[in-house]
């Protein structure tokens, strides 16, 4: 049989595209991260691991990691839990399910820049609806809560510009914006659970909703959960547009909202420090790769039963 090269033609186009638009840029970024290259410069000096040393020693980058991880570890658990909760509630409805689905999914579809402007108004310290509402509670039993009493005595927090609150406020908006997406994924997962399993659970004596959830729903949603958690992690590592919309001048009050994506943008684009920008990108890529590998491992090990 003559040797055939047809297989090269089959994989060729895909391979070519993957190399050109995925692998090559990553290799380029990896190379750049060891230089002090700037856009427009004729050449660049090799700085070795200098950029990485800076990332892991300078306090500005320490703040970057702090802000990123604070954001991620608030947003991921909350969006997953709220997404699951909303999906369970909607799934149990016989009517108006579609209405609630639409309501919860709206923030996902809305342009985040526009939403950021709305939130900026809502959270405005003096004219914003949030603090105005809180002030109405002054003089009631709510004042027994010392934090609330303090707010009434002086002012309620400057949600977006107080460095103690800024990152949590941004995380809250991230949760508000993101959980509808997880809800849709969980709804798809819920509809694929065979009804006979619930009947079997009932016959076996699972009387409470919690028993059914533990015995059937949660294990059967395993593959969905792994996917939802991974995608939530990646999405929250990628947070950028809210930060850029709220704090275009860089990272929020004392850089407390200086998340990774914004750092890459600020260093590489605004300050034209390609080398350090590429280094942060590579670190970011490592995080995402790590998460993806964990996901693969979990999917293969734990959640596929067939």
């Amino acid at each position: 049989m003559p040797r055939s090269y047809a297989h090269l033609w089959f994989i060729g186009p895909a391979l070519f595209l993957m190399v050109v638009i995925l692998l090559l840029p990553i290799i380029l970024a990896g190379t750049l991260s060891f230089t002090n290259y700037s856009l427009g410069n004729p050449g660049a000096d090799w700085v070795g691991t200098g950029n990485y040393e800076r990332i892991f020693t300078r306090s500005a980058y320490e703040k970057m990691f702090g802000a990123t991880f604070r954001y991620v570890f608030v947003v991921v658990p909350l969006t997953v839990a709220l997404g699951l909760g909303a999906a369970l509630l909607i799934h149990s409805l016989t009517r108006f399910g579609d209405l609630y689905k639409t309501i919860y999914f709206l923030p996902v579809m809305a342009a985040l820049i526009a939403m950021a402007i709305v939130w900026e108004f809502a959270l405005h310290p003096t004219v914003g609806i949030v603090n105005a509402t809180l002030e109405r509670g002054c003089g009631t039993f709510l004042e027994r809560w010392s934090w609330y009493a303090q707010g009434c005595a002086r002012t309620f927090p400057l949600w977006l510009t107080d460095r103690d609150y800024a990152i949590w406020t941004v995380a809250f908006i991230g949760v508000w914006q993101g959980f509808g997406f997880n809800m849709v994924l969980y709804l798809a997962g819920l509809t694929s659970i065979p009804r006979e399993l619930y009947h079997a659970a009932e016959m076996d004596g699972a009387k409470s909703g919690w028993d059914r959830f533990r015995l059937v729903t949660w294990p059967m949603l395993g593959p969905t959960t792994v996917f939802v958690v991974t995608i939530s992690f990646i999405r929250s590592f990628q947070v950028f547009d809210t930060v850029e919309a709220f704090y275009p001048q860089g990272g929020g009050p004392s850089k407390s909202v200086y998340v990774m994506m914004f750092a890459i943008y600020e260093k590489a684009i605004q300050q034209n420090l390609m080398g350090i920008g590429a280094a942060i990108t590579i670190v970011f890529l490592c995080f995402v790769m790590f998460l993806t590998i964990i996901q693969r491992w979990l999917v293969e090990r734990r959640t596929h039963y067939v």
Binding site: P194, E196, H199, G205, Y305
Partner: protein
């Protein structure tokens, strides 16, 4: 162990009526099969008995107690599902343990880490129960595996084990053998019947396969169009069907149906030969003849052998009659010399002929002609 009683059960899904005023009494320790074509309401009836479906009307009584409003978990019934419905994330042992855990352990004792400490001796007992049931079903070597790692037959046993492990008042089975291959199905029929004899518990078994109903049950209920047409021991259903539909449904190969007539004097004729006398109807009737009630003969209606089915222990001949082009299936001994294409004569055993009026109701003979009619 319990007797089960369903009275006046009606159920409809939207516009379609699935069950119409069904009554069914099942004695303690009885093996009752609900059999019928798909869509006849047999599964729905079983699910109403289980409590998984609510009847529109009627009552469900278990041991004389009205359980119509009692939730399934509190009826103490065990069910085997067609799809087995095993929990895919749990091992066979854990699957079998689940009904015991949920029923015999308190909420605190079921807690993940604390529970086993609180209920160490109880857990030991439950594990012994699981092992016991597994040994009965010969699946003790599979206890550590997950359902995904089992073959169809093994999964079926695991599902059976989950039902068997506790002591329910009755076992409900919804076509448990229909996903198995033919050989295994025949084997499991015998095993289920044996299991029933050993446990002496009430079994309610749903199937669309009349062979399963005939081979296993003490009594079988033939259902069609949301009604029980006839209920009785398999022998009675086979030999003495009260309705044309029952006669057609039960038996393989199916019963032969030939057009006959009852004249004014009450004489029943088949192919113009009198076979007996009957009352209650004048005019055209259907005469049903089982394959074993038709014989090869020198005289009688003639026909050509168009198909020959050799089952080893017996041969079924399909004969196309010259008169009226009816196809008749008859059973003969295995060594018969009749070949495909031969022309043969037929005789019938009039004593085993069944007469049905045009509405499908069975008519009785008042007297019969000679044992065999040429």
């Amino acid at each position: 162990m319990a007797n089960v009683e369903l009275t006046g059960i009606s159920k409809s899904f939207g516009e379609t009526s699935v069950l119409e005023d069904v009554d069914l009494q099942i004695a303690d320790g009885e093996f009752v099969t609900l059999v019928g074509p798909s869509g006849c309401g047999k599964s729905t009836l079983l699910r109403i008995l289980a409590g998984l479906e609510a009847a529109d009307q009627g009552q469900v009584l278990i041991d004389g107690r009205d359980v119509t409003q009692v939730r399934p978990a509190n009826r103490n019934l065990a069910m085997v599902f067609q799809s087995y419905a095993l929990y895919p994330h749990l091992s066979v042992a854990e699957n079998m343990m689940t009904p015991l855990r949920l029923r015999d352990l308190s909420r605190a004792e079921r807690l993940p880490l604390l529970g086993p400490l609180l209920a160490r001796s109880k857990m030991g007992e439950l594990k012994a129960q699981v092992l016991d049931a597994a040994q009965t079903l010969k699946i003790d070597h599979l206890l550590a595996r997950r359902p995904g790692e089992l073959s169809g037959g093994q999964r079926q046993r695991a599902a059976l084990g989950r039902a068997l492990v506790r002591d329910p008042v009755a076992f409900l089975m919804d076509e448990p053998l229909s996903n198995l291959d033919a050989a295994l199905r025949v084997h499991m029929r015998a095993e289920l019947a044996e299991l029933h004899r050993r446990l002496a518990t009430t079994f309610v078994y749903v199937t669309h396969d009349q062979a399963e109903a005939l081979t296993m049950s003490d009594r079988m209920a033939v259902m069609m169009g949301g009604k029980i047409l006839q209920i009785g021991p398999p022998d009675e259903i086979y030999n003495d069907p009260h309705h044309l539909e029952v006669a057609k449904f039960v038996g393989s190969p199916p019963i032969n149906l030939l057009p006959g007539e009852i004249n004014g004097a009450g004489t029943v004729t088949l192919f113009d030969a009198p076979i007996g006398h009957a009352r209650g109807h004048n005019g055209a009737v259907m005469i049903g003849l089982r394959p074993e009630a038709v014989f090869l003969a020198a005289q009688g209606p003639r026909g050509r052998v168009v198909h020959r089915e050799n089952l080893g222990s017996e041969i079924y001949l399909h004969v196309m009659l010259e008169q009226g082009a009816h196809r008749v299936v008859l059973r003969t001994a295995p060594m018969t010399s009749v070949a495909l294409g031969d022309t043969v004569g037929l005789s019938i055993d009039a004593a085993r002929a069944l007469i049905f009026d045009p509405d499908g109701r069975r008519l009785g003979f008042t007297e019969r002609e000679l044992e065999r009619i040429a």
